[in-house]
Structures are given as C-alpha cells and as structure tokens.
Symmetry: C4
Subunit: 209 residues, 4 copies
Amino acid sequence: MEAFSDGVFAVAVTLLVFDLKVPDHREGQLLSELARQWPAYAGFFASFLYTAVIWLNHHTAFTRIRHVDRGLHFANLTLLFTTALIPFPTAVLSHALIDGVNSADARTAVALYAGIAAAMCAAWLLLYTTVHRGRDRLVEADIDPGTFAADRWRSIIGIVGYLSAGVVGALVYPAIALAVFVCLPIFYAATSEGALHLFGNSRRGGSTQ
Amino acid sequence: MEAFSDGVFAVAVTLLVFDLKVPDHREGQLLSELARQWPAYAGFFASFLYTAVIWLNHHTAFTRIRHVDRGLHFANLTLLFTTALIPFPTAVLSHALIDGVNSADARTAVALYAGIAAAMCAAWLLLYTTVHRGRDRLVEADIDPGTFAADRWRSIIGIVGYLSAGVVGALVYPAIALAVFVCLPIFYAATSEGALHLFGNSRRGGSTQ
Amino acid sequence: MEAFSDGVFAVAVTLLVFDLKVPDHREGQLLSELARQWPAYAGFFASFLYTAVIWLNHHTAFTRIRHVDRGLHFANLTLLFTTALIPFPTAVLSHALIDGVNSADARTAVALYAGIAAAMCAAWLLLYTTVHRGRDRLVEADIDPGTFAADRWRSIIGIVGYLSAGVVGALVYPAIALAVFVCLPIFYAATSEGALHLFGNSRRGGSTQ
Amino acid sequence: MEAFSDGVFAVAVTLLVFDLKVPDHREGQLLSELARQWPAYAGFFASFLYTAVIWLNHHTAFTRIRHVDRGLHFANLTLLFTTALIPFPTAVLSHALIDGVNSADARTAVALYAGIAAAMCAAWLLLYTTVHRGRDRLVEADIDPGTFAADRWRSIIGIVGYLSAGVVGALVYPAIALAVFVCLPIFYAATSEGALHLFGNSRRGGSTQ
C-alpha cells in the first residue's frame, strides 16, 4: 500500500509544475511578464510544501503501523483523494491573485482552497481515529498506545484553522487566509514526528529508511 | 510487476485532476463559473473512486498470487491498458453533461464510458480466468481453490451491468446510466475481499501491508 | 534502479492518454467528431503496446542481472531516454494521419517515428552488449552465458526493420511503415522471454513476481 | 524514502516530453516546422540528462546512507523541490531561444535557468553537509568517513559555475551560458561515484542493484 501512496504523492507534487507556464509576451517583455505571475510561484511553493509535509506525516505514521485492514485502506484512499485534488484549488488561487489580492474572485478562491484543505485534515482525523481504535491489531508493539490519539488533535487544529481562514478570507480580508495557508503546513512539518513527541516523549525518534 | 502496476494506478488516479480547469471568467464571475462545471467534479469523483477500487481489487488479488507467468503478464497489461484509458471517457462525459444531461452528445458520451468500463471488466474476467486455470502454479498455497473462480462472477456482473447501462443510456435516458456508473464501483469496493468472502468464508481476511 | 525504471515506464505509458482529447464539436456532432480522430486511438494503442512490451523485456532482462555497474547504468538511461520520448512521435503521427494517410506530412511523421523507434532498438543493443561483455560480474549464475548475445539479434532486427520502414514510408507509401510499426512490437512481445527460448531452451521459463 | 524520491525523479524526467508539442503547420509544412523548434529538442535532451544524472548521484549517495533523520528528510525535500521545478526554466529557455539566441528574452531565460540550477547545487551542498555532520549515525560503516566531505566540493563547483554562467549569459553573451549548461551535467555524470573516487580510491566501486 505504501508503494501506491508514495506514487500518488510523488506524482501530485511533481504535477504542480504545470501551473508554471511560459507567459505570453511581446519580444523583450519576458522578464516583466515572468515577474507579473508571482502568485503562481507562491502557489507552487506553498502546495509543494504542503504535499511534501503530508507525505512526511504519512511516512511517519506508516512506520508505526504493521497491518492494514479494510477500514484503514478506505481512510487512506480518502486522504489520497484530497491530496490528488490539491493542484486544482492551487491553480484557481494563483489565477485569482494575479487579478488582485482583495477582489471578489480572490475571496472565492480562498474559500475553495480552505474548504479542500480542511477536508484533507478531516481525512487525517479519520485515518488517525481508525488506527487508534484498532491499535491492538494495527500498530507496531513498541509504539506508545496514546500516539495516534494525540495526533488527532493535530487534525482538529487543521480543520478549525482552515475553516476559520476560509470564513475570514471570504468575508473580511483574503490576505489573512493566505498567511494561515503558509503557517499551517509549517506547523505540520514541525510536528511531523507526532504530537506526543512535542511533550518530550521521543522513545522512537528518527524513522529508518 | 506490482511496482509497475502500482505506478500506473498512481499516475492514472492523479492525472484525473487535469480535467479540473480554472474556468474562463469575467472579473467577479469566478464563483458562478466554478459552480457551472459541476459535472467535471462529479466525473473526477467517480473516476477516482473507480480507479482506486480497481487498485484495491488488484492489490487483494496479488497478495494471493505467488508467481506470474507470461499469460498472467498479458492479462495484467490488458487491465492496465483499460485503466490508463479511463481519463478519456471521463473527460468526454464531463464535457457532454455541461451542455445538458439529456442531449444527443450525452447519449454518445454515456455509451463510450459504458463500453470502456465493460472492456475493463472483460480484462478482469481474463485475469481471474488465467489465475484460476493455473492455480496450482500461480496461487499461494493457503488460499481457497475456488477463490478466483468465484471472482469471475463479479467481472461478469460488471460486463452485463455496464453494457446494459450503455444501451439504456444511449437509447432511453442517459441519467439511468450515470446511476449505474456510480453504483458499480461501490459494488466492487464492497466486495474487494473477493466473492467468496461474501458468503461467510473469511479464512484470510485483511491484507498485510 | 528497477524502481526508477519502472516509474519511468509507468508514467510514460499513462501519459499517452493526453493525446486523446475531447474534440471540439458543434452540439449533436460529438459522435462523428470522436470517430474522425481514429488515428489518435490507433496511436494510443500502438504506443501503449510498444511501451508495455519494452517494460516486459526490461523486466525479463533484469530478473537475470544481479549487479549494475556504471556502464549498465548509462545504457539503461539511454533506453529510458528513448522511452520517455515515444509520446512525441506518436502525437505527431496521429495528427498527420488525420489529414490523410498518404500526404507529405504523413511521410515526415512516419520517418520521425521510425527514426526514434530505431534509436530505441540501438539503446537495447547497447544494453545487451554491455551485459554480455560483463556477464561474469553482472549476470545471475544460473543463466545460460549465451542469453544476452542471442538477444542482440532481436535489437538488430528492430534497427534494420524500423529504418527500412522509415525509408519506404517516406519515399514510397506511408501505410507500409504503419504495418511495420504494429508488427515489430508484436514480434518483441512474442520473444520477450529472450531469443534463446525460441530454440527450445527454456531452462528458466516464467519470471517470478 | 527512496521510493518517494525515485517517484519524483521518474515523473519529472518523463514529464519533460510535454515541452515537445506538435507544431501548428499548414499542410505540407510539418517537416520545416518540426525543424524550426530545435531548441525544444535541445532543452529536452539537456534537462533529461541533468535530471537523470541527479537521480544517479542521489542513488549513489543513498546506497551509502543507512539511516534518515529529520534533518536529512528536509535536505532531501529541498533537493526534490528544485528537481520538480526544472521543467519550468527548461520551457522558458526553449521558447526564448526560438526567437533568437542573443535576444533580451534569451538573456532573461538564461539567468532564470542558471539561478534554479545553482539553487539545486545549493540543495546538494545542504544534503552532503547534513550527512557529513551526522556521519556516525547516518552513514554505512564500510564507507570512507571523508566521502561526503569531499562531495561538498562538487556542489560548490556547481554553485559557482551556474551563477557565473548566469551573470555572463545575461550581461555578455547567452551562448556561453548554454555551453556551461551542457558541460556541468557531464561533469556530474563523470563524477557520480563521488569525488573521492577521482583520486584513485575505489574501495567500493559499483553500486549493487
């Protein structure tokens, strides 16, 4: 199962480059046209970061799992569904920002991105809950039994964070949402070893290759 | 062989996002234009579900197979051929539905989708039959000898179901075919452990990672 | 190394679907426009078959190889280079055939396809020669020492066959070249166990998974 | 981690073919239009070579690494980020060269390519430094302790080489930069076994499969 999941992550992260297009330009105007599409570069960076961090969390989780049952297969496919979707709201957001950070279209795009990112956090919550409930069968013996219960809090923070960002971005000011879109992946990167490790428990720190 | 097959499934499932395009729109009209292309979202969802379920069935089958001979290689490549094709009828169907669920073009698109989906079921029938005939050499020792014979019935239900949906959709009412296109993948997901397991035989339930 | 190669084959074979586009059409004309682009379907089928057969030959060769040195890495990358290129001449050929099987553009397209397919056969010749020369270090102990020497003849048949098809197709009649483009992959599929096996030697028949 | 990295390399290298487009042409003009887009073929070749050589170096490095910690994960993701980006400056450069090797746009494109290639060399420097600092935990026991320290020099040559090429190409003559863009990947291919091997140390020559 990890081969298939790793394949989806690898393709999704590499396909993001298709949002970077050679701009139409009159002769000699290439530099200024390249500069004008800066939101596409920001979108590429943010979505690469987000997808790579998701892979890292996925990789960490599955070094702790020893068995995959039906329920976990479906939770994982739900997560891959939202991952495969990410390039779409990224492209919508990049296009909208080129026309202005505070336009009506930017508000629409920010709400779309927030909704799909929150759905991905919900998929993580489903996955962590599935593993936690079946931890006697599914989890490696040397893992702290509270590991996946604690990780559910990380998902809940994401759901609340993205939904709040979507509402504030759509109704008040889109740039606030953009700041959240950059900060939450950094939060997930910083906590990729799992929530338990934040509180000094590092019985099993690094992942082996 | 599983690495190559998993790669094809992972790429096929991730490429589906290319059918989701940023819609052309006048300033301020992004929201309504995004809403107007709902058939593309339905198509993405249905084809992701279908391809993911095919992968799950493929994964289950190959945990029970211990040897791959020439005949099984060709049956598997036939299956991958139809899988790699899926994004095309999905795109045709999405485009046709935007212009109306009951148009002449929707009837054409429904028939194309049904034909290719039936061809995939025929590829499964070939694969299950190939494994069943060579079960002494090809199948793991602890697997019930009737496993792959029983699974052939699942393929036959798909061939008959998709062809019927295609005929009814093209000649009577396309929406009936769309309902079948959603239900059959759910049937394959529900029976992904194999037909034998439906009748209480679960000697080997979950798949190991 | 096989993971990377399998990845390239899997992506190349799945990307071919991008040559199948939803045709521009007036309302109600979808069926006839779909029919008109039959050369694209033929191109998809031929290139899928060719790439899948290349993968099968690659897989068979590497079940017999136990060590990869610098020279073999470069021979393999040359083969992957020509494999990754295949979607381009396929698209050129499909487009040219839509405008007529005997046009000046069809002659150009046929010559391009033949040249790249011959280059791929030359990459196979390099790979088989590299393995044959270093067979004491590179090949599994239980493999007949003449295996890779015999396979070189299969590559030479391809080089001569594709170059002849290109010359005849460009100067005399393109359809003759198209027939060769379908027949040579079938030849490679039929001989994928290696040239030695054609003459009754099947000490090591099927490949294990 | 290697499965994910190999996947990104395999997808990146195969996606490059999308820069090769069937040219718009009037009937009978296919040959001359194909010839006119030679910079796209040169770009495909150079970027395929570069990405394949990066994969080869990555593969060599990770046969010597036995453990991956957080820091190495992030260094590796930085490298994958620059790898996934390569198709973009390649496309910009190909387009610019079609309009003339010495135009203002060619200078812009050459500077962009040089900047991203230098950033990739900086990612290699980060990776080699991370491994060298943690060599007691991260590196296989039978590897010379100076291996990764020596490899840092190969990265520094790349950073200086690409940045110089970018400055000279943007301010003096773009063709000089193009020559550097071809020569540096050849340098990395020739030294892919590691800098230490250049000085006669080949205690561990070929990589096993």
